[in-house]
């Protein structure tokens, strides 16, 4: 990876934090005026590829020379906007861009089928805006700037979700619902940031962190904390603020679901970690109490209650959407544990969950391209109709359950170890119960795919199809990653451990 940094011009490396956000944002404008969807798609893939390269460069840079602080426009922080990259958000950048690239490659066949031809350019433009927004949230070190990027990504997401209306009119209500709730979340967040600005007189997060401990008895700061946690929790689909999510995932275009499920809530989770540790400080009484009572308790409730909800879904994507909320509960539990091990486990699950849900949603999308599936019963016999996609789906499903030989096992293993170290044996019990429920709902889908009778055509032969290569390749890259990182976990573990240490380093500041 060092190699990449060495061949890029020094100018680009120096300004990489800005370029990584600006490239997709500019390309969005270009994409919008492209005459057809294919050209826009090419732009998307190129800008995603560029951002992957830059993310790798930034990650290497952080690993070798520590925190990068980039003054936007040359205005020095805290007055100017600071982009700040440490090991914590480097993971996010890497995940966002790699998943972004894979899902961008995957997008073409799916979008070609589900979006009107004359809207495809605009669709891709909206996607690029969303992509840039998420990168911005991950990279910025300025609280108000974070709000701006959060809204850039959210508003474009509402559009993307609503684009599903061509296939299913319920996408419109889903998007509207998401818009209302997402805006409430954003409002809460900006109110919180406003309070903090009022109390500290700064918007730079590092600067806030330095000034806040003197104000620990301030009611304004405490209220700000509550507003921010609720606002970001809503964006992260933290139980019980997740009500927007199932429909938004179920009715939006398949490609949007893939991208949303693997990135958007992940970024929101990152912002929670960032605010908990690097803006507020865990020693404050009102912060300390939230670890257990907010994150651990709600996380566990989500892990169990929402998993049970998932069991009773009939719509395949809704099932996985509920599962996503439940899986977010695992991350919340990791955050709630609050130790380095806990945060590291939460971050590990964040990455792993993106890999496993990526495969699952992508495979569902591939099924949909060929057979237009919606319900679980539509998946009957796909093991023989679309074997390659089905095997990948199965790997993703097993990973979600946490079966050894898949990366999902490490998520649960390290979460369990972290919980044990805290003496939270009941959390381990909850982990196991939740895995059992996951087994049930994934088992329902796998049973449909592998056991039920496949569809037959008029001659009585089994209907077979192969997913387009552009879909199959990203699906299989992710599926193999799910297995590969079980046997070679070093990379992910060192990355997420560094992330957790970086998060807790803020505490020392």
């Amino acid at each position: 990876m060092e190699f990449l940094a060495s061949i890029l011009p020094a100018q680009i490396v120096a300004h990489a934090p800005a370029i990584i956000v600006v490239v997709p944002l500019l390309m969005a404008a270009v994409s919008a005026i492209m005459p057809n969807g294919k050209l826009s798609w090419a732009l998307v893939v190129i800008s995603a590829a560029v951002s992957v390269v830059l993310a790798i460069v930034l990650t290497v840079d952080v690993q070798t020379s520590g925190v990068i602080s980039y003054a936007m426009g040359g205005w020095a922080p805290p007055a100017g906007i600071e982009f700040r990259i440490d090991s914590l958000n480097a993971v996010l950048l890497l995940l966002l861009t790699v998943i972004g690239l894979l899902s961008a490659v995957y997008a073409l066949p799916s979008v070609a089928m589900q979006i009107d031809a004359n809207r495809q350019s605009l669709f891709y433009a909206a996607f690029l805006v969303c992509f840039a927004g998420l990168l911005g949230v991950a990279i910025t070190g300025d609280a108000f700037n974070m709000f701006v990027f959060l809204e850039i990504s959210s508003i474009s997401t509402y559009v993307l979700v609503g684009m599903g209306a061509g296939r299913d009119r319920r996408a419109l209500t889903a998007a509207y619902n998401y818009l209302i709730l997402g805006t409430i979340g954003a409002t809460f967040f900006v109110i919180g940031v406003g309070f903090l600005y009022m109390a500290t007189g700064t918007l730079n997060m590092a600067d806030m962190a330095a000034r806040l401990p003197d104000l620990s008895s301030s009611r304004v700061v405490q209220a700000a904390f509550a507003f921010i946690i609720v606002g970001l929790g809503l964006k992260a689909a933290m139980f019980p603020l997740h009500l927007w999510l199932p429909n938004a995932y179920a009715y939006s275009p398949d490609f949007v679901t893939v991208f949303q499920a693997t990135t958007a809530t992940k970024v929101a989770f990152y912002t929670l970690v960032r605010f908990m540790f690097d803006v507020f400080w865990p020693d404050a009484a009102f912060v300390a109490v939230s670890f257990f009572w907010v994150f651990a308790v709600l996380g566990i409730v989500a892990m169990i209650v929402v998993s049970i909800q998932a069991v009773f879904q009939t719509d395949a994507r809704r099932l996985l959407a509920f599962s996503s909320v439940a899986q977010a509960g695992y991350m919340m539990l990791g955050l709630g544990i609050g130790s380095v091990a806990g945060i590291a486990a939460g971050m590990l699950h964040l990455v792993n969950h993106a890999m496993m849900k990526g495969v699952l949603f992508m495979a569902l999308g591939a099924f949909a391209v060929r057979f237009g599936i919606r319900r679980i019963s539509d998946l009957n016999g796909f093991g023989r109709s679309m074997p390659f996609t089905s095997v990948a789906f199965t790997i993703g499903g097993l990973s979600l359950i946490g079966v050894p030989m898949t990366v999902g096992f490490w998520s649960k293993w390290y979460l369990g170890v972290a919980a044990f170290e805290n003496g939270w044996w009941w959390a381990v019990a909850a982990l196991i119960v939740s895995s059992l429920i996951a087994l049930v709902y994934i088992g329902r889908m796998l049973a449909a795919i592998w056991v039920a009778e496949p569809q037959h055509d008029r001659d009585g032969d089994i209907v077979t199809a192969r997913a387009p290569w552009l879909m199959l390749i990203p699906i299989w890259i992710l599926a193999i990653a799910n297995v590969w990182y079980f046997f070679q976990p070093e990379f992910l573990i060192s990355l997420t451990n560094a992330a957790a240490e970086a998060a807790l380093a803020g505490e020392a500041r």
């Binding site: 050894p404 044990f420 381990v428 056991v451 079980f486």
Partner: protein, 486 residues
């Protein structure tokens, strides 16, 4: 020499899988396909025979997963070698039998059947050769999942319901109890390796060990200790070759083998003796033996009767593991071997009877022995062995179990074992008895069924007899594990 013990360890897993690939590829030409199964089974048996011969060296293959402290590993030790030998040896006989049965009954989806069979055997080999709990858990689950399509083979409502119960109990207990126990073991001992003398011995207090022991014994649902046994009678919806090899040998024996291995290598006899739970578990096993025998006696369906008989006989192993005296452990290990040969005989006979006459109920089988003398003869031999009469192999485990119970003074358990033998007489012997001594049915059966369905049980019945005389080499082979002086 080219063939090293390490390669052979891997080969034991790979040979059946490759066989399965060929079976799948040759699905269009049934004769070649069956040829692939037979070649794979013979190669595997040869390979395992080689492994048995090098067991003394304790070869091992370990793959450490990064810095996570976990590892996958294969390691050869006498118990595992014995289980692998039993499963692979009987696979040959059972393959012959499967061919006869599946063709004789015109079953559908035969290719799928034979493919999953090979995967199940590979998983059983994995359970036999695992060097730590994590690896064993993985193969244990693989065994459950690969046998699910075999149980659900018929595809009708009854078999999918049976298969659902099968899957949910086995997966539920293993993830709900076994996995937490493994995690706790890793947490307490820092590893899950099978260690001579017991990994947890000296690491865990008797109270903690008790909790873990309960989790392990009930978590290993394949051992079918009551009340987690219902999966076994429900699995009887499967075609009989599945019931024969998997639910008399590979799957259930993987369960009790795991129980035995956990008791010997994870807890160790000393810790089990110190843990208060072991007494209770021995009693539950004794109850399980008697209760299952009584249920067996009351069922008229032959396969169901045999299934409950299996539940009962499996608890012999659990009892031996819980008594934890060297002789009892030896008896438990021998029970795995002896019961396998006897019970597969009985199941194959049941299938042969079904293939020839389509009869499943015991009350309909009167006088059939006159028309199918070989089948009923083999059944009688199997029944004698299960009851524990000399000169049949089944005598030895009962003897050693009783001696073991006597050595720790648990005389009441001896009573349970004797009672069980009496019950065995009551529910097994009437079948060949009525078969031979009642008048032959007037109509129906014309010939005693296909050769390939009749011959295999005769072979295994002969095996059950020969094993009686092989007790010397067997105990010599196992003695170092348990430190038995004979």
């Amino acid at each position: 020499m080219m063939w090293s013990p390490e390669i052979a360890l891997l080969a034991a897993l790979i040979i059946p899988v490759i066989g399965g690939v060929f079976v799948g590829l040759l699905g269009k030409t049934p004769n070649l396909r069956e040829g692939a199964t037979l070649v794979a089974s013979v190669l595997l048996a040869l390979n395992v025979a080689y492994l048995v011969s090098v067991t003394g060296d304790r070869p091992e293959l370990i793959y450490e997963i990064g810095s996570t402290g976990l590892a996958f590993g294969l390691k050869l030790e006498p118990l595992g070698a014995l289980f692998a030998a039993v499963a692979s040896g009987l696979w040959i006989v059972n393959s012959l039998y499967s061919i006869g049965y599946m063709r004789g009954n015109n079953e559908k989806n035969q290719t799928r059947f034979f493919v999953f069979f090979t995967i199940a055997i590979a998983a059983a080999m994995g359970v036999a050769l695992s060097s730590n709990l994590l690896t064993m858990f993985l193969f244990y689950e693989a065994l459950t999942l690969s046998t699910y399509p075999l149980v659900a083979h018929k595809g009708d409502a009854k078999s999918s319901r049976g298969a659902a119960i099968y899957l949910s109990i086995l997966l539920g207990t293993s993830i709900g109890f076994l996995l937490p126990a493994i995690i706790a073991t890793q947490y307490i001992a820092g590893s899950t390796d099978f260690t001579v003398g017991g990994l947890l011995n000296g690491e865990a207090s008797p109270m903690v060990a008790s909790v873990l022991l309960v989790l392990f014994i009930f978590g290993i649902g394949k051992a079918a200790l009551m009340p987690v046994h219902p999966w076994l009678p429900n699995a009887m919806v499967a075609p009989t070759p599945v019931s024969a090899l998997l639910h008399a040998v590979a799957v259930v024996k993987a369960g009790v083998f795991a129980v035995l291995k956990v008791s010997t290598y994870i807890f160790g006899p000393e810790l089990i003796a110190a843990a208060p739970a072991s007494d209770w578990l021995a009693w539950i096993a004794a109850l399980s033996i008697v209760a299952a025998s009584i249920i067996a006696m009351s069922s008229n369906n032959l396969k169901r009767r045999l299934a409950f008989s299996t539940v009962s006989q499996l608890s012999y192993v659990t009892i031996g593991a819980m008594i934890a005296a060297p002789l009892a452990l030896l008896g438990a290990a021998l029970q795995i071997v002896m019961h396998a040969w006897a019970k597969i005989t009985l199941f194959m006979c049941a299938g042969a009877i079904y293939t020839a006459s389509k009869k499943t109920e015991i009350s309909d089988m009167r006088g059939l022995g006159r028309l199918m003398p070989w089948t009923f003869g083999a059944f009688a031999v199997g029944a004698f062995s299960i009851i524990g009469l000399p000169p049949f192999g089944g005598m030895w485990p009962k003897l050693y179990l009783m001696m073991g119970a006597a050595s720790t003074g648990q005389l009441a358990l001896i009573g349970a074992l004797i009672l069980s033998s009496i019950l065995n007489v009551g529910y097994l012997l009437p079948i060949p008895g009525r078969g031979f001594f009642d008048p032959a049915p007037k109509e129906g059966l014309k010939k005693p069924g296909p050769m390939l369905a009749v011959l295999p049980p005769v072979i295994t019945a002969a095996g059950a007899t020969i094993l009686f005389f092989l007790i010397g080499p067997l105990t010599d082979f196992l003695a170092p594990v348990f430190g038995v002086e004979l």
